[in-house]
Amino acid sequence: MTDIMTPALGESVSEATVARWAKKVGDAVKKDEVLVELDTDKVSLEVAAPSDGVLDSIDAAEGATITPGTVLGRMSAGEGKAAATPAPKVAAPAAPVADLPLSPAANRVVTEGGLDPAAIAGTGKDGRITKGDALAALETRSAAPAPAAAPAARRPVHELEERVRMTRLRQTIARRLKEAQNSAAMLTTFNEADMSGIMALRNEFKDVFEKKHGVKLGFMSFFVKACVNALKAVPDVNAEIDGTDLIYKNHYDIGVAVGTEKGLVVPVVRNADQLSMAEIEKTIGDLGKRARDGALALEDLQGGTFTITNGGIYGSMMSTPILNAPQSGILGMHAIKERAVVVDGKIEIRPIMYLALSYDHRVVDGQGAVTFLVKVKEAIEDPTRLLLDL
């Protein structure tokens, strides 16, 4: 009998949820076949069979919260066996049974604390809520930074409405965004960039570029390079607050937000200052594909120092992005629209993109933020500045 263990979930991830069992008890499985999928705060993980055999038991049912080292289930070697001896039934803690009466102590804690028993995961027999579970729920609530308002009783769902549990990823996104808003002194500064230069450059070189590097020349590599250049000029934007200290980061790991079916993820282009334009394009292409396939690893998502988000692909004209804590800056790109602008005293039609920089005013002064955005604008309007390190 082999235990199927919860694998290491990566740094700073302490727990996961069992999303789906791909196999049933008694199923024959081949080595490396996916047994179970786990959701963590950041990514989905798949746990594969360590060897050929039969799944004997499922110890962590779908929806169960688990930590590294938790036994998910057990499997044994051999095949025909499952047929001969029916595998033991799942002894996993069932989902909390809402209509079970509470024990006297749990009832006291829930009543005095104004807790919603339906929102507490029970660890007792058959998923019952123990006093310890209720106390933990009380503690979590009082530890929450904002008064998460005594959880209101679940409101009834109208027949034209549907209640869907948030995925762990969605819950994490929600929590992180709110945390960023609660902690940072966040505000946004705007500018605009004339894209005609960069578009001309791209039109001129896109074929030779693709031929040589095997990847299309897009706008993102220009923006990544422009941001790295601006971060070097205004190091505050690449810093983060740690208690009463500031940590300045002399590495440039640029997060690029990617929309996926499950929600927004932000994989990181590492050491972007050392990559060529082609390498940046390739990295972004690869991360984006893996994000949409749900195949990102945790380390792909960790340790970014600055983030770029492009609402323009959905047609956004103007937005105020929220920081990706603990970072201090995020650049918002938007849709390119032809607009009448004045160039050298004449009205001309130019492709214009509005740029937004949201920043943490605790770290970055207004002057720094504006300077940063102007630097980005200048580099985009005339990429030769990047070449000359201006």
């Binding site: 033991p88 039934k89 024990s103 102590a105």
Partner: protein, 465 residues
């Protein structure tokens, strides 16, 4: 050749309960037992007869020492022959009861001694020497245990007794030496002390009843000493020599020092039990017991496919109710159900007076594991029913997790506590907090109120002391 879904070797509490469960689940089942009656050690020469003598001897002692205080004047006279006869009657009735349960659940009792001869094959040798072979899809080993031996002390069951011999002495000894201050030694020592023997208990360790919470063990020893039992702890028995009328036991301090010779009419050797696997044919299926004779198991399975093991002969405490629990679990696993034994919640009871009972972790175990706990204690001297009955010795102690309040262990010494520990087994099986018991109404006046008051003590609101 007779074919069965399950063949169980041994008809003790593990085996016969497994057989009943198998019958209930519609399996064809045979139980092999060579002794003339069913029930194994527990019913024939263990729990049951010892409880019969403990009860009778306690009545005798009460009649002698306590009735007068209650205003009942009697001069009791011991009729040992009758006391042993009523014990035998009860035992017979119980073994017949098991026989009835076998019939009721369509279990075949194959009389004889079983041995495994290969995968799925069990040979049974009857009293007449005839051998029959059974074919079994599943074999359950439930052969139990026998009293452990001590070099230099040869049990003859005339003067040097094991627990079986001590249950049927034809006379009350003037003096008795009990080797081993475990549960069996103290129970049987209590029986003969109550009936008139001078009892000296010799124990290798420097405490009695290992495994029992230390605070309880100290109170227990004080109580037994007050009753007239003598203890020689930290003492090693190096030999016993029997003559026609007495025994000489040589004892030396474990720490070193000069040996001494103790003399008594009888000696009871009760230093524990060892797994019984003689003639079981384990080698035919490649099972190798460890050097103490224990057969290992993984959720009831041995290393041999289709061979299961339960009770004293495998790992864990040697208690009838543990074997019973395993018997049911193993049969349910064979049937594809979710059989399970919660080894953390197997209660222990000592049927002396006062009784001792506990379940879960001792304070020593919690400290060793680094678990932070709170404790609540309530003495029976503050319990109304115990006071009225003049049974005020002892206390209840509840240990609970300091953070979650989950009950981790309960330890009791006092009147009838063996009957009350089950309340905490249920509570703990449901992961109860001490407050759960503290907030559960208990009948008044009963001794069980002490259980609630002790639970209240964990969070500091004991009301009646």
């Amino acid at each position: 050749m007779a074919q069965y879904d399950v063949v169980i070797i041994g008809a003790g509490p593990g085996g016969y309960n497994a057989a009943i469960r198998a019958g209930q689940l519609g399996m064809s089942v045979a139980i092999i037992e060579g002794a003339p009656t069913l029930g194994g050690t527990c019913l024939n020469v263990g729990c049951m007869p010892s409880k019969a003598l403990l009860h009778a001897s306690e009545m005798f002692e009460q009649a002698n020492k306590e009735f007068a205080h209650l205003g009942i004047e009697v001069s009791p006279r011991l009729n040992l022959k009758q006391m042993l006869a009523q014990k035998a009657e009860s035992v017979t009735a119980l073994t017949k009861g098991v026989e009835f349960l076998m019939k009721k659940n369509k279990v075949d009792w194959i009389k004889g001694w079983g041995s495994i001869t290969g995968p799925g094959k069990v040979a049974v040798k009857g009293a007449d020497g005839a051998v029959q072979t059974l074919e079994a899809k599943n074999i359950v080993i439930a052969t139990g245990s026998e009293p452990a031996a001590l070099p230099g002390v040869t049990v003859d069951n005339k003067r040097i007794l094991d627990s079986t011999g001590a249950l049927s002495l034809p006379e009350v000894p003037g003096s008795m030496i009990v080797i081993g201050a475990g549960i069996i030694g103290l129970e049987l020592g209590s029986v003969w002390r109550r009936l008139g023997a001078q009892v000296t208990v010799v124990e290798f360790l420097d405490r009695i009843t290992p495994g029992m919470d230390e605070e309880v063990a100290k109170t227990f020893q004080r109580s037994l000493t007050k009753q007239g039992m003598t203890f020689k702890l930290g003492s090693k028995v190096t030999g016993a020599k029997a003559t026609a009328k007495s025994v000489e036991v040589t004892v030396e301090p474990v720490k070193g020092g000069s040996a001494e010779t103790l003399k008594a009419d009888y000696v009871l050797l009760a230093i524990g039990r060892r797994p019984y696997t003689t003639g079981l044919g384990l080698e035919s299926v490649g099972i190798v017991p460890d050097k103490r004779g224990v057969i290992a198991n993984d959720h009831g399975k041995t290393s041999a496919p289709g061979v299961w093991v339960i009770g004293d002969v495998t790992t864990g405490v040697m208690l009838a109710h543990k074997a019973e629990e395993e018997g049911v679990a193993v049969i349910e696993l064979i049937a594809g159900k979710a059989g399970h034994v919660n080894y953390g919640l197997i209660p222990s009871v000592v049927y002396t007076s006062p009784e001792v009972a506990w379940v879960g972790k001792t304070e020593e175990e919690l400290k060793a594991a680094g678990i932070v706990y709170k404790s609540g204690k309530f003495p029976f001297s503050a319990n109304s029913r115990a006071k009225i009955n003049h049974e005020t010795e002892g206390f209840v102690k509840v240990l609970a997790d300091a953070k979650t309040d989950r009950i981790l262990g309960v330890h009791m010494i006092g009147p009838q506590v063996g009957e009350m520990v089950g309340e905490y087994c249920v509570a703990m099986e449901f992961s109860a907090a001490s407050e759960d018991v503290a907030r559960t109404c208990h009948p008044h006046p009963t001794r069980s109120e002490a259980l609630r008051q002790a639970a209240m003590g964990v969070e500091g609101w004991t009301m009646q002391a």
